[in-house]
Symmetry: C2
């Protein structure tokens, strides 16, 4: 339950603003997140954790000397956009490169990946360290989600950058820390979004959801709620069974409360956890018990162990001074920080375009407006389709995306942008405002199509643009035909377009979208509801077909 808020839609933004007001002496709010206020005296690697909001102190609570240089902060439980990540990176960059670090979730991987590409295109060195500590989420390390182990990995990287390690070295120690970090968590009750009438997920009374993810992702199974002692035994046994090959006997330990489990409860649990870890021959190095990575008011607890070598121990025990976590003695002066503020985020301009291309940009804008009308009309229907197996927000997300895209294209046209830049700008705004995986994909796809069209062109090669759009979506999203995604409509659409007209291709897309009703989704958060989705088409595929038809009708009108 959330008790204190203004407009629930603004909750994440309001919380970030309040935090930045409170810590204005050390933290500065920028679009997409926050950065340290003090500029480093000499260039250092900027360590930038990030992800959705609702996990305080992750991610902006740990900005400060010895820890993060900034944090990229999305809406509640929603990945920040690539634009957010770029904005924070540009504000935090001091000349030695940036590293984004985050838990392994599809939206984050896509958005931070896109941001990394864009920064590199601007000549800024950028890397990613993805945390995969949740042993309950998958068998193989690479597929695992990132949960409270975030904290250890971020801390080690923050200390490494503060020591003066270069980008490659910071990435190396971050990945090394992730390789030896294991977490097991459990949930007793779900969390509730501000303004929501019911929890995002629930756990049956008297049970606990062992391994349940911090956003309600599937865990191992529900079991009767054990005593603290039995819970500690289970946690420790599961982590010791995952001890990395060649690991030593010195460990960093985090006993983490997810939101509604109080400190006193964590202390009760700690006694057995500590005893069992010591009895197994481990030395506990500066263990932490508290709220380190939360999930709003979720009632849950997790235990993280990081097996330390000398280097990781030095970095784990190094001083840090942040709003939510302070260790040892360190001040801004110790880190050689100056008082000068970091430069404001740069804003991208548009290349000067030919008159021909500017006319074509107006046409692109008109086409987007037609799509906007079609999506607004279909919003309710798309929501209903999505609600069968998902959270019912697909129509809302598409409408937010196209509204932002039209606004972005209008701004670009007013600034004299050509057709390609206009479409790319529309894509950027879509990605920044729509939220969710589909927002990233549509945004990135439109940008890719815009780049193929180019800033100067006076005509559009529709097949080349659609191909760029499709390639981007397929490579970024990783879905294959048959996975019940928009790719199931996109691939036949492009194939038909190669051989025929736009209108016949749009018809093909519609047929393909309808056929997705027979499919079962392959993986992901929708999995528990997979059976429910049979008989209902994929909402993303339906949206694609609907947009293809709208563009076809608009094109015929233009030609007439």
């Amino acid at each position: 339950m959330t008790y204190v808020s203004n407009d629930p839609a603004d909750f994440a933004e309001d919380a970030l603003a309040g935090f930045c007001d409170l810590h204005a002496d050390t933290v500065r709010q920028v679009p997409g997140g926050a950065v340290r206020r003090a500029r480093p005296a000499r260039p250092k690697v900027a360590v930038l954790p990030g992800g959705g909001s609702g996990h305080y102190p992750a991610f902006y609570g740990i900005i400060g000397p010895g820890f993060a240089d900034g944090a990229v902060s999305g809406n509640l439980f929603t990945s920040p956009s690539a634009q957010d990540a770029c904005s924070v990176a540009l504000a935090a960059h001091s000349g030695a490169g940036v590293v984004f670090t985050y838990g392994n979730y599809a939206g984050d991987v896509m958005n931070f990946g896109l941001a990394t590409e864009r920064l590199r295109a601007r000549g800024i060195e950028a890397e990613n360290v993805i945390v995969t500590d949740d042993i309950a989420s998958a068998r193989t390390t690479a597929e695992r989600r990132g949960i409270a182990g975030d904290f250890t990995v971020f801390k080690v990287m923050g200390a490494a950058a503060e020591e003066g390690m270069d980008l490659g070295e910071v990435v190396r120690v971050g990945r090394k820390a992730n390789d030896v970090t294991r977490t097991i968590g459990t949930a007793f009750a779900g969390c509730t979004f501000p303004g929501a009438a019911s929890p995002l997920f629930t756990v049956p009374d008297g049970q606990m959801g062992l391994g349940l993810g911090i956003h309600g992702e599937p865990g191992l199974r529900d079991v009767p709620k054990p005593s603290a002692r039995a819970l500690g035994q289970d946690f420790v046994a599961r982590l010791l069974a995952e001890k990395p090959d060649g690991a030593g006997d010195r460990v960093a330990v985090l006993l983490n409360g997810l939101g509604s489990v109080k400190h006193e409860e964590l202390f009760v649990l700690w006694t057995d956890v500590a005893r069992l870890l010591r009895e197994s021959g481990h030395t506990l190095v500066l263990p932490e018990v508290g709220e380190l990575v939360t999930s709003l008011d979720m009632a849950g607890v997790s235990l993280t162990v990081t097996w330390l070598d000398d280097e990781l121990e030095r970095l784990w025990t190094a001083p840090a001074w942040t709003p939510a976590f302070r260790r040892g003695s360190i001040t801004a002066a110790d880190t050689g920080a100056g008082t000068e503020e970091l430069a404001e985020t740069e804003t991208a301009g548009f290349a000067e375009a030919s008159a021909e291309s500017r006319r074509l940009a107006e046409s692109v804008l008109s086409g987007l407006r037609v799509v906007r009308k079609a999506l607004h009309e279909a919003e309710a229907e798309l929501g209903e389709i999505d609600a069968v197996a998902g959270d019912g927000d697909h129509g809302r997300g598409m409408v937010r995306g196209i509204d932002a895209a039209v606004a972005g294209a209008e701004t670009a046209c007013e600034a004299g942008a050509g057709a390609g830049d206009c479409l790319a700008a529309a894509g950027d705004e879509w990605a920044a405002r729509a939220g969710g995986t589909s927002g990233v994909l549509w945004g990135a796809g439109l940008r890719a199509a815009g780049e193929v069209i180019g800033a100067e062109s006076g005509t559009i090669d529709a097949f080349a643009a659609v191909t760029a759009f499709a390639d981007r979506i397929i490579s970024l999203g990783g879905a294959e035909p048959g996975d019940k995604t928009l790719v199931d409509a996109l691939v036949p659409f492009r194939e038909r377009l190669a051989a025929g007209s736009w209108s016949s291709a749009a018809e093909t897309a519609e047929q393909a979208a309808r056929r997705t009703a027979d499919l079962v989704p392959r993986k992901g958060r929708a999995r528990p509801l997979a059976e429910r989705s049979v008989g209902t088409p994929d909402p993303g595929a339906v949206s694609l077909a609907l947009i293809a038809r709208a563009i076809g009708e608009f094109s015929r009108g233009e030609r007439a």
Copy 2:
């Protein structure tokens, strides 16, 4: 809801033990609480906050340089005993005296007051600073309860002691801080004890209990839950209306979450609170937003303002380094602390008694066993009487008390104690184990009776002993005849005893106890249920009459 525990009866003790294990490098557990591990290099005033458990980080989370020297920790929401307070004080005392500091609750006032007397009797300087910041709890400052304002007052005193101020000065700044500290709180939902099936108190859905106390004590009234903005406006307006005469415009501010209100919510609320305080001309000096004084999982929030003068600002902003609160740069080395551990708590021995007095002590022990039998038989009945207007634990508390008293008297007899010491020891154990206000009163009353009897006496002057017992209970508890307490049976009992036999006096006590059914309680937590209690006698008065009868029957048996 509490999710993680072993035996719920041991919850508070288990939590303290886990905390002390986690922070074993800086904190040492002692009977009744915890103290700093490092011994001060030179004598300093020991600042000792305390109270019931369930309020972490209050009270043991703030032990460390610049803050508390130790903390006295009772059971959940239950005052620690005077013995607990003495134990912690003896462990923390370094030669410059101790000051207990705590919120204004009857049990705490009695127990810390008793502990202060005992320490002074041992030649240790001891003082008390009582926090009274809750503006919703009474009109006059002296009658108000202490809530989150504890934090500012304790912090100021901790800094003062660290600076080297003497006991009188530390007390002076503590009282000055309390005089300019105001808090308003609200509750959205009650908290639930470990193992309990239902919350300790509730707030109607969609409402909030404005001014509701942190243990569910009556507040101002229930109102519809407002927006964060409206809540901030209401809080700030109420505190500004209470601005102390002559106060300046620099303030320490605490925005405190009680347990289930998350950090993100506090940040949302902070924006308006900060703006309104600034607009009213105040400068916010190192404000704190977080969980500072909690109440298990209570959903609530409070706002505290302390108006600062130069001295208070210096002490508020001084460095501190504790498990739960760290400010500035300070280490054990800065405070001149040595590595030597503090002495273990002293244990009191017994004076060598005459054979005559030792025989009389055996008789006292036998009498206590008879009372034990009577109370065990009456436990259920006493519980039922108490449940009409209270929480139904009176029978349980009396049984715990007499069991402990018998055990204490047995130990004393085995150690060769005389009759007076035996009864005093029984009282100490009763107070230490029974919990609640009645536990303190019975314990202190029995000790007073024992002191009158003396360590060497071979006979007991029953009237003198009962008079000492009654005087102690009346002066300590502050109740008057007609308040519907055990005093309503005790006073007539003593009067009758002055003129007649024990058995006639016991009969008088029984009649008086029955007549308490016509009374309405004057004040205290039972007030909202006052009407319900009419027609039911006071359980404390009934207990007293029952014990008087049991002792009378035992005495007749002894004489026969």
